[in-house]
Amino acid sequence: MPLETEARAQIRALVAEFRPEHGDLLAAMHSVQHHLGYLSSEAMEVIAEQLGLFPAEVYGAASFYEEFRFTPPAQTNIRWCSGPACRLKNGGGIRDAILATLGLHDIPGDTEDGRAGVILGQCNGACELAPMVWLEQPSTHRIEFVGNLNAARAVRMARALRDGATIEASIEETKRA
């Protein structure tokens, strides 16, 4: 039985309210990811212990979902909308432009310095803004949408994020003519 470290105690507190055989696994994983940004090995072990599961069962469930991540998140995530409306309005091109600007190959991916990452988003019905992305800051839970993109604006936004600009500054970049 591994030792109670500070990090472990923190995770334990996050999942203390969840009970075995209550269908609480997803809620527990969300709680940890919301507060810590990702599911570490240690976190999955603590969740397993709390819910009477094997760590492998927790990982098996978590890895099924695109949303859960197992490495610390980037400073700012670009959540690329994969919905049909965005795709019809060149969402694919926007994605490729962002990935190329950040030097990434696929979604999900993070830049090496951890400043920016791209993750998959699902349609939330704001299709009048298509094609769109969300900019998210996991540490502050701040989320801003950026709509009606085109490739040039997406590239300017991604460049700003790559170079360490704030969310506001990056959004400003998309508004420049």
Partner: protein, 842 residues
């Protein structure tokens, strides 16, 4: 039993059985890539389709899901069945290299040949480690897949176009290559349902689904304990043993028995080029059946072949030089004869080994008689005899009829062992089975956390040495012993009081490093608890698990002090005083095995003659006058007697190398030269002689019903509760807890190899955080663990699963360095408290 018609033949089968098992038993070839015999069907691969006449909605049914019913008419070879199976197989091959599997030329190809169909080298069966022992390959042959589809050439196909996922080759036991995986999930279910370890899972989804270990990292960072049950069931080369991976295709199989612990799992050695290359569980032992552990599966490669002795050694001044067997034998005989003529036979002592076979032990006892000395023992002899005495007092025999298979039916089990998962893993597996399948209640009495804890109904965490008090308390329904959590104690008492009756059992596993007093007290208390639980039938409910494989066997063969003979600690003391001047040690290493290392080292140094018979140049052999090279355990024919008193036939899986001789032959030659002209020199004759002398079953009986024949089991037992053992006084410092750990190999520890623990998991002292805080040490710190005289340098790990006041160190750490911290004769009431002295921060 009902009758079914299988391909026109009438077959008897019990109703409700899975059809696929019946078909396989009849010797009819059927593909079933995801089914595991005995487990619920998964019905994932769908290759076991058969035609069940009249079945609805279609006669095409999965044989793994279908249950046998009377009058069922089953055809496995109709054209429709064949076609359907082929198309199902085609789907499986869509994400596996298939070109060789569907190519009719494969049998003509050699690995170096240029493929006429342009198949790349890395995708060929011929260059796969599992070629010709692969279930997928066989399955493709059974369904004649080449008849259905041509090898997939020239079209885009994701398998051939995407880079393969990364294999995991980071540990010394298990290799995982995901590109071979067909996602049958047998490994996931074997780990969950056969082992209850739950280290394997399916991860991801859709096209990216893979199996993963633990939380998705490397295997050695997960909770996998490398038992290899997943390797046994894997139909492809996805999960493979790392040792001998590329040569593991056995030409022949040898049934044998594992000698790593007293469970005595039956195993088969796969033999190629006259050496074992692979181990599989052999279902003969009704308790272990299809399960073994990492020690059984990889014990034969724990030590490289070059590290085994192939020549005998003779002392020349400070050095041991190679010699022929005859030279070494003559040196040994001359040295022993010289001591005997100068000081009498009383100056010679003989030490046996609990890893030896019965035949070797029998000859060693004869050798002692030929010498004329009563001083015969083995390093843990005192512990065994203390337990046996306690059992005789309680049950009027130490050869109780309890058998481990009963344990699988028990509803309440009290386990008194340091870590039964580590020391006797298959017992732990069966206990988990009992908890999961039959809701059995397990109470654990131990100073440290074990992997079985998760399934326990109650855990009594005691300080080392307080086990007896806890067990007696459970028997009497008394109050909690000092230091035991009151709530846990109440739970344990509750389980015990509700569990009284026909299906309760007690498992007691002493540790070799425990002193006789401590082991005897714990055994007495455990026997009292068995009597409290089962009354007059307690003898059928008391399971004594010695640490080493053949403790019961060698005791039966007479490896114990004769009249006026000295026990092991007395022999060492006498050697230090100069009364014992010569020692014959067979296959044991007291410097590794026995407490009181400093005294033992001094005794060995002072000897006039030390004759060692071993397959390894052990740390003890370094002091020898002559070392006679014996064959290793997997090259030795013999019998061993497990904790059940089953007599198991350990068969040789390779011929002796170089000038190695059979242990029996060496001991017979020694006995012969020392006066016992009749000593039998072969395994068969030795067994005949020992059967006649001890009442053991003959080889005809042993081989006639393998792993079923039990030796010398008492037919009747009594149940006399004994007075409660005197409580062990607690002391203020740390108390050492040590015992058999899982990964450190006896053989490699005996030669003090750096790789004795190939995973390097067991090279630390585990401390309770409270004790660590008091000592000012943290995980990773290197400390001196000292009793004021000797000290051991060791890294610290903090663990709240260790009882406060306890320092847990695996027994075989650093070649038994720890044994210097214990007094000769083992940990007892007088054992000094340990202190931790911090050396350097991590």
């Amino acid at each position: 039993m009902v009758q079914i018609t299988l391909n026109g033949q009438t077959v008897e089968a019990s109703a409700g059985r899975r059809l696929v098992e019946v078909i396989k038993e009849q010797g009819v070839a059927i593909t079933n890539l995801c089914y595991i015999d005995g487990l619920d069907p998964y019905a994932g691969c769908r290759t076991c389709i058969v035609d069940v006449v009249g079945a609805r909605p279609t006669p095409l049914q999965l044989a793994c899901v279908t249950q046998v019913a009377d009058g069922m008419v089953v055809n496995t070879e109709t054209a429709e069945v064949k076609r359907t199976r082929q198309s199902v197989m085609s789907l499986i091959l869509a994400n596996h290299p298939d070109r060789c599997l569907t190519c009719h030329r494969r049998v003509h190809c050699m690995p170096g040949d240029i493929c006429l169909r342009d198949d790349v080298v890395t995708h060929r069966c011929l260059t796969c480690s599992k070629n010709y022992r692969c279930e997928l390959q066989t399955s493709c042959e059974i369904v004649d897949q080449g008849d259905f589809e041509e090898p997939w050439v020239g079209e885009p196909r994701s398998y051939y176009e995407t880079p393969p996922p990364e294999p995991d080759r980071g540990n010394p036991f298990l290799e995982y290559d995901p590109q071979m995986c067909i996602l049958c999930t047998r490994c996931v279910r074997a780990c969950d349902d056969l082992r209850h370890t739950g280290a394997v899972t399916l991860s991801g989804k859709g096209h990216r689904t893979m199996i993963a270990f633990g939380t998705g990292g490397s295997i050695h960072e997960s909770d996998c304990n490398f038992c290899g049950a997943c390797i046994d069931v894997c139909p492809t080369a996805t999960l493979m043993e790392k040792p001998n991976k590329w040569v593991g295709r056995a030409d022949d199989w040898t049934n044998s028995a594992c000698n790593s612990c007293a469970v005595g799992c039956t195993i088969s050695y796969g033999v190629a080029d006259d050496r074992p290359v692979i181990v599989r569980p052999d279902r003969l032992n009704p308790f272990s059946r299809d399960q073994i552990c990492v020690r059984g599966r990889f014990g034969y490669v724990a030590v490289a072949e070059r590290e085994r002795l192939t020549r005998s050694l003779v002392r020349a001044g400070q050095r041991l030089l190679p010699a022929t067997f005859d030279q070494a034998l003559t040196t040994a005989v001359d040295a022993l004869t010289a001591v005997k003529s100068a000081h009498g036979a009383d100056a010679i002592a003989v030490l046996g080994s609990p890893l030896a076979t019965n035949e070797e032990a029998y000859l060693l006892a004869r050798l002692a008689r030929a010498i004329g000395t009563p001083h015969v023992d083995f390093s843990h002899g005192m512990v065994h005899r203390a337990v046996a005495d306690a059992m005789r007092a309680a049950f009027s025999t130490d050869r109780v009829p309890a058998t481990l298979t009963d344990l699988e039916q028990a509803q309440t089990v009290v386990v008194a062992a340091l870590d039964v998962e580590d020391s006797h893993q298959v017992v732990s597996v069966r206990l988990k089975d009992a908890v999961i399948k039959r809701k059995a209640q397990v109470v654990i009495v131990s100073p440290k956390w074990t992997a079985l804890d998760r399934w326990a109904a109650a855990i009594v965490r005691v300080a080392p040495g307080q086990e007896a008090a806890a067990l007696q308390g459970l028997a009497d329904g008394g109050s909690a012993p000092a230091g035991v959590d009151a709530a846990a104690w109440a739970r344990a008492l509750n389980v015990v009081s509700r569990g009284k009756g026909a299906s309760a059992a007690v498992v007691y596993a002493p540790n070799g490093a425990d002193g006789a007093a401590r082991a005897g007290a714990a055994a007495t208390a455990a026997a009292n608890l068995a009597i409290a639980l089962r009354g007059a039938e307690a003898g059928s409910a008391f399971h004594y698990l010695p640490t080493d494989a053949n403790v019961l066997g060698i005791a039966d063969m007479g490896i114990a002090p004769g009249a006026g003979g000295k026990s092991f600690p007395e022999i060492i003391e006498a050697a230090q005083r100069g009364e014992v001047k010569a020692l014959v040690i067979h296959a044991d290493n007291p410097l590794l095995n026995a407490p009181g290392r400093t005294a033992i080292e001094a005794a060995l140094q002072g000897l006039q003659a030390l004759v060692v018979i071993d397959s390894l140049r052990s740390t003890t052999a370094e002091y020898a006058t002559a070392v006679l090279a014996a064959a290793p355990f997997f090259a030795t024919d013999g019998t061993i007697t497990n904790a059940d008193r089953r007599v198991l036939h350990q068969r040789s899986a390779q011929r002796a190398r170089g000038q190695q001789s059979d242990g029996v032959a060496i001991l017979a030659a020694l006995a012969n030269r020392l006066g016992d002209r009749e000593a039998p020199s072969g395994f068969t004759e030795a067994h005949e002689a020992l059967a006649a002398a001890t009442g053991y079953p003959t080889m005809a009986q042993v081989d006639g019903a393998p792993a079923q024949v039990r030796a010398l089991v008492a037919t009747s037992t009594t149940a006399k509760p004994q007075p409660a053992p005197a409580p062990t006084p607690a002391h203020s410092g740390l108390t050492l807890a040590t015992g058999r750990s899982l990964y450190t190999s006896w053989d490699a520890a005996s030669i003090h190899s750096d790789d004795a623990d190939k995973l390097h998991r067991e090279e630390a002292v585990w401390l309770n955080p409270r004790d660590a805080e008091a000592a000012g040490v943290r995980t990773g710190d290197v400390v001196d663990l000292t009793d004021g005289i000797a000290s051991v340098r060791i890294a610290v790990k903090l663990d709240d699963g260790v009882a406060a006041g306890t320092a847990y160190v695996p027994h075989y750490y650093d070649g038994g360095a720890l044994m210097a911290l214990l007094p000769l004769g083992g940990a007892g009431a007088s054992t000094a408290a340990l202190r931790v002295r911090a050396l350097q921060p991590a």
